[in-house]
Symmetry: C2
């Protein structure tokens, strides 16, 4: 199994969640799976990280939620990206780009 333990940096989780939900409404458990799949199995979000983050993100109006049934007929809470959430995703992606660029510069420094 040899799972690489890759703790997320604080601040990246929101972006990942918003990105996952931007591909279509999804429930919490599915978000974890989608992030794992999108990242090529590199990122493993813990439930204890996800659910508080979802609550926070919904409070901020970046997603809305609705109880519904999944394809197997089980109850699940589906999250949908709001317009504000879409904007926020862009903000966070831009912010990440800036940081990644800055770090890259530092890495090159001699």
């Amino acid at each position: 199994m040899a799972k690489e333990k890759a703790d997320l940096l604080q601040g990246t989780l929101d972006m990942l969640i918003l990105k996952a939900v931007s591909l279509g409404p999804l429930h919490g458990y599915g978000i974890i799976q989608r992030i794992r799949q999108m990242s090529g199995e590199m990122l493993e979000v813990e439930q204890g990280s996800l659910y508080p983050a979802l609550y926070r993100i919904e409070q901020r109006g970046w997603v809305s939620s609705k109880w519904d049934l999944n394809e197997t007929g089980r109850r699940a809470k589906f999250y949908t990206l709001t317009n504000a959430g879409k904007s926020q995703l862009e903000v966070e992606e831009a912010s990440w780009d800036r940081l990644a660029l800055a770090i890259a510069k530092v890495r090159q420094a001699t």
Copy 2:
């Protein structure tokens, strides 16, 4: 001046400090300047972040410190990267690379 407020992500500061010190012994105030310069003025480390971080990093044996005089004859505490610190820098750079790659994959996902 229009300084872009670019809060660091938690976890990146140690790497930046170790990298700055890897270019030669330096005192705290100088580390802030060197990081700013290396990053092309994009990263501004706060003193209230730096000094606790330096303390932490020294406790972990990644840098050693010595009071000395700078080129203008003023007392300053110079930090030097230890061998353990050099290893740690490599670890953190590798960790950053993995995360950056994973995030890039997520970004590409459709």
